[in-house]
Symmetry: C2
């Protein structure tokens, strides 16, 4: 995206507001790597093929939004580990939703892909579904937008 972007920090739409925190190109991939167990600056850099200054800026931005934090390295060295906060860990929902949409929509049969599995038994995850409060599975056409509702 070229030019200065509008900030959605105070937008009443949750999707717009989320884009301020996680909507840039690299942030979701850093979060994906953190969910997969990466902790070290060098691990993120190797996985993403990203320039140091850009990775530093992205990690700082994620920290400013309370999604990741720097902690002393677990090996006792002078380095830092970069880990997800609880708010960041809850993004596993978003990562999984994108993952499943992409698997269904952007991969041809037989193409090699990465698969998200259940750590307990190595099985693929169940399909995520959007459901009504009474459990009915909802499609796009079944959803309605309400404006100006106070947040609980």
């Amino acid at each position: 995206v070229k030019g200065k972007r509008k900030s959605f920090e105070s937008d009443p739409c949750p999707v717009a507001r989320a884009l301020d925190a996680i909507g840039d190109w690299w942030s979701l991939l850093i979060i994906r790597d953190a969910l997969a167990g990466n902790r070290r600056f060098g691990e993120f850099q190797k996985s993403l093929g990203l320039a140091k200054n850009i990775l530093t800026a992205r990690l700082r931005k994620l920290a400013a939004h309370g999604i990741m934090k720097a902690v002393p390295a677990s090996d006792g060295s002078a380095y830092h580990d970069y880990i997800l906060t609880d708010k960041g860990k809850r993004l596993h929902l978003v990562i999984t939703a994108i993952w499943q949409w992409s698997e269904t929509s952007l991969f041809a049969p037989g193409e090699m892909q990465r698969v998200l599995c259940d750590r307990l038994n190595g099985e693929p995850l169940a399909r995520i579904e959007v459901r009504a409060s009474d459990g009915r599975v909802l499609q796009a056409r079944d959803m309605l937008l309400k404006r100006d509702v106070p947040s609980p």
Copy 2:
């Protein structure tokens, strides 16, 4: 993001590949608006406050990825409607996941927000959950990444 971006079109990671299609700043908001019922160029423009040339480029990109398509206007005029394809409609999962994470993580109690509801009864949706194939609810720490798995 400044400069030329790497393409993830053939990336084995579904999240990276999805970013090629929906990872820019405006695409998810266009998809949100289309899910909320917007169809006309002017409706998207008014909702997003976006320059015509940028909106045109984003709609073309979404069409190139098979997520939206231009169809003759439903009122029989010379205009087009811009509607989601089936592939695009399935993004309701992604939009809802981002929505729910954002509601929980980025809004203070009492702040005015937009709420996604069940069209049938106007009730808020159930919380989306990541589940194992046997139905257990999974958290971030319960997930495992497998590489080089052929797509079904």
